[in-house]
């Protein structure tokens, strides 16, 4: 069904339409089950953090949201659209930072931005304005005309971050965006995320392993474990379920380890490690 032009235009600023909605999403890679009935909902104004151990399914879910990959079953809507049926529309409304910084290695950031901006059909003045502000903010002057192949990992990450922000997308989808960023750039980046979520109708979904970032930045956190969300809520809501000895408030790390049943494992591993290190070397 084709919606009327009016509802389609309104969809990205309507406060009641979820920016992302996933219901019972499954994804299998052969015999590997990466997602096992994952459901989540992200409303405008939210910064939604995806937390989970390695291999839990964060990147898989993110690729499905961005239309890069298809679910085996289940429903996904991004701003009311199905990424499988309207991938081009969905992609034009998303700013995406992939997990690996695999870019067109022989292009310079300038060539790369020119390409992205042209393909996204942006207005010349606003695009130039935004690119120059973002590039200055992230200190890209020195690397602007060097081939991406020669940039450091963090600099490559900055290039993808800038490319994801140029078109002021209603939805930012970031897969471990803090990877490789230095202190100054992470600071700037956190500000960028906050600013994005304050614009009407916008939202951010990102995955991270840095508890401190999730704790302070996210309005809501979803914890993925073995392909589905096992706990979801604001920091306070998540904390409520975990009681620490002495009435102390639990940190996110403690909540996370508790929920993913890794508490005892960590303690046990620590014991084993101590033994290994104190054992006399042969």
């Amino acid at each position: 069904m084709v919606g009327s032009p009016l509802t389609e235009m309104k969809s990205d600023v309507d406060a009641k339409v979820p920016v992302v909605e996933a219901k019972d999403v499954h994804k299998n890679f052969g015999t590997v089950q990466a997602l096992a009935g994952l459901s989540l909902k992200v409303m405008p104004g939210e910064i939604y953090g995806l937390l989970g151990p390695n291999g839990a399914g964060k990147s898989t879910m993110i690729k499905i949201i961005t239309g890069l990959s298809e679910q085996t079953s289940g429903e996904v809507r991004v701003l009311g659209l199905d990424p499988r049926e309207s991938p081009v529309e969905v992609k034009s409304k998303i700013g995406y930072v992939p997990e690996t910084t695999m870019l067109y290695e022989s292009l310079s950031p300038r060539d790369f931005f020119e390409f992205v901006v042209s393909v996204r059909k942006l207005d010349k003045k606003t695009a130039n304005d935004r690119v120059s502000k973002l590039s200055t903010a992230f200190g890209l002057e020195e690397y602007y005309d060097s081939p991406i192949a020669t940039l450091s990992m963090g600099t490559k990450q900055k290039v993808t971050i800038i490319a994801s922000l140029i078109h002021e997308p209603p939805l930012l989808v970031l897969d471990e965006p803090m990877n490789g960023l230095d202190a100054k750039s992470s600071r700037i980046f956190k500000d960028v995320i906050s600013l994005q979520s304050q614009q009407p109708g916008r939202a951010v979904v990102f995955s991270t392993h840095i508890m401190e970032v999730a704790e302070h930045l996210c309005t809501r956190i979803g914890i993925i474990y073995k392909g589905s969300i096992i706990a979801e809520g604001s920091m306070d809501e998540l904390r409520a379920g975990v009681t620490m000895s002495g009435g102390r408030q639990a940190t996110l790390e403690e909540v996370f380890l508790h929920l993913t049943h890794e508490e005892e494992e960590v303690a046990e591993t620590a014991r084993a490690l101590r033994e290994a290190f104190s054992a006399p070397t042969v």
């Binding site: 499988r84 309207s86 690996t100 870019l103 290695e105 060539d111 020119e114 020195e142 690397y143």
Partner: protein
């Protein structure tokens, strides 16, 4: 570490080399099919093995067939040609093959982990060299064995066989070294950026020389066809100029051929003073080339040493003072992006060599014909179309490691196909120009024939779009279920058997589309003798093809 152990251990970096090169051309997500990750790695390495077997078979067969003339006639000229052609084929295909495997070599990625292990420098670079040799092993062995066995069988001369063995080993060494040097050159080309005048000029010169090198490789075969008569008459003593045999006697594969022939035919040196000098020189040159092979081997060793120890090239950076972007419409932007990347990638730079290549081919093929009639023009035009179509699929590799990023942009398959076919159609444009100029200079010819290659621009555009659609598609219906209209792009990796099969299918369809209008022209003009009717029908068919392909792209 002894050689045996190093050889065994070098399998790991070799697999990594193959895998990374495949990922570089096809991205990490696209095109490896489904299944567990371990199965995918296996499918890539199996694909690489199949590719290797195919190329090895090609080299072995080519190296044998080069001798067919000698096998029939047993003349000295036949033997010279056989040895030369055989060596040229094995050298050329080894280098061409390496361009598929070695892109990831210069990036040093495959050795990153290895170099952290407690291995000494010597062992490390030995393993690196062996992992590179593993990519060529079957080709080198096949070439050497075939050449030595064929010469031994046909000449029954131990001395000639020994010379063949030496030449063959030297030839293989050149192949490996040239491949490594080329890989290094392209790596430097990738890492030296900038839009300054000097950088642009350097890149332009690099492309032109790459074009000429590629063209001259393609011409080894036809060159021999032109040189053979000259050689034959030189050898029979009827040639008056002395420079030809002397010139060729010092050129690599020819020198080996001439030296070998003078062993088998001892009277050769006494045919004429020029030939006597040439055969003497060919032995001197052989000695020189053996020495050169020794140094080439050392050069290969030092290159692998440098790469395995991650000694990167120096980079010069300039601070940007402004961040201005030049905006374009999506298709031109895609064309520019592809052209920029293509010029720096060894697998795709050939597209830029194409105009040079086409010009030379057409001038040669038409330069020989007495009358530039419709037959000659149809022939030259179809040659031009053929080379354009060969190059179109090469453009798939311009995505490189950015393939996954291309997926994430709001692009549909049609736009990508159109952008790439714009480039391949542009690469065809020298054909009508060159034919037009040749027709204009030939008084007896009919100038209207220039419309034939001009109309083919439409057919080439339709054909290259269809060819690319084989690789870039968007699925709509799958088992009756509405599925993604997202783009599925994949690079072309000639190491993969699946890609080879698809390429064959694509070339058959594209070849049909490109030659269809030409065929209509040829048949109509033959039957009706009316040029205008033939050109009109050709244009109609070409237009219909273009419309059909565009309609298909819109609906896919």
């Amino acid at each position: 570490m002894n050689l045996r152990e190093a050889w065994r251990l070098s399998r790991t970096p070799y697999i990594e080399l193959v895998f990374r090169s495949a990922v570089m051309t096809r991205g990490t997500m696209g095109g490896f099919g489904f299944g567990s990750p371990a199965r995918r790695v296996k499918s890539i390495t199996r694909g690489a093995l199949v590719g290797k077997v195919i190329i090895t078979a090609f080299i072995a067969l080519g190296a044998v067939f080069a001798f067919y003339q000698f096998a029939i006639n047993r003349t000295a000229a036949g033997l010279v040609t056989g040895v030369t052609l055989s060596l040229a084929i094995s050298l050329g295909y080894t280098v061409l093959y390496s361009l598929q495997v070695l892109p990831s070599f210069s990036g040093a990625g495959p050795y990153a982990l290895l170099s952290t292990l407690p291995l000494n420098r010597r062992d490390l670079s030995l393993m690196a060299l062996l992992s590179v040799l593993r990519t060529f092993d079957s080709m080198i062995v096949a070439a050497i064995v075939v050449q030595v066995v064929v010469v031994a069988y046909l000449t029954a001369s131990p001395l000639a066989t020994a010379v063949m063995a030496l030449a063959s080993v030297a030839n293989s060494t050149f192949g490996v070294t040239v491949s490594l040097v080329l890989a290094g050159l392209f790596q430097r080309n990738i890492t030296s950026g900038g839009r300054g005048k000097r950088a642009t000029l350097a890149r332009f010169l690099f492309l032109i020389s790459w074009g000429l090198a590629a063209a001259s490789f393609g011409f080894v075969f036809s060159l021999i066809q032109y040189v053979f008569p000259a050689l034959a008459s030189a050898i029979s003593g009827s040639l008056s100029t002395t420079s030809i045999p002397i010139f060729f006697s010092v050129l690599h594969p020819f020198s080996a051929g001439l030296a070998l022939a003078s062993i088998v035919f001892p009277t050769l040196a006494s045919v004429s003073p020029a030939l006597g000098l040439a055969t003497t020189l060919s032995f001197v040159a052989m000695g020189g080339y053996l020495l050169l092979a020794y140094f080439a081997g050392r050069k290969a060793l030092s290159i692998t040493e440098r790469v395995s120890q991650q000694q990167a090239a120096t980079i010069v950076r300039q601070r940007a003072t402004e961040f201005l972007l030049r905006l374009r419409r999506p298709i031109p932007a895609y064309v520019i992006k592809d052209a920029r990347i293509a010029s720096k990638n060894p697998q795709t730079a050939f597209v830029f060599a194409l105009p040079v290549f086409e010009t030379v081919i057409i001038v040669f093929s038409l330069g020989q014909t007495a009358v530039l009639g419709s037959t000659a023009i149809v022939g030259a035009t179809s040659l031009g179309c053929f080379f354009t179509l060969i190059s179109a699929s090469v453009l798939l590799n311009t995505e490189g490691s950015g393939l996954d990023y291309t997926f994430s942009l709001p692009l549909n398959a049609r736009l990508i196909i159109l952008a790439k076919s714009v480039i391949s159609t542009a690469a065809y444009l020298p054909v009508p120009v060159v034919i037009g100029v040749l027709l204009a200079f030939d008084q007896s010819s009919e100038l209207w024939l220039v419309f034939v290659p001009i109309i083919q621009i439409l057919a080439v555009s339709a054909a290259s779009s269809a060819e690319l659609a084989f690789f870039i598609r968007s699925y709509r219906k799958k088992g009756g279920r509405q599925t993604s209209r997202g783009v599925q792009t994949r690079g072309l990796n000639l190491l993969s058997a699946g890609d080879l099969a698809r390429l064959l299918g694509a070339l058959i369809v594209a070849g049909g589309l490109a030659l269809g209008p030409l065929g209509v022209f040829a048949v109509t003009s033959f039957v009706t003798q009316s040029g205008s009717l033939a050109v009109g029908l050709q244009a109609l068919v070409a237009l219909a093809e273009l419309a059909a392909v565009q309609l298909y792209l819109r609906r896919m």
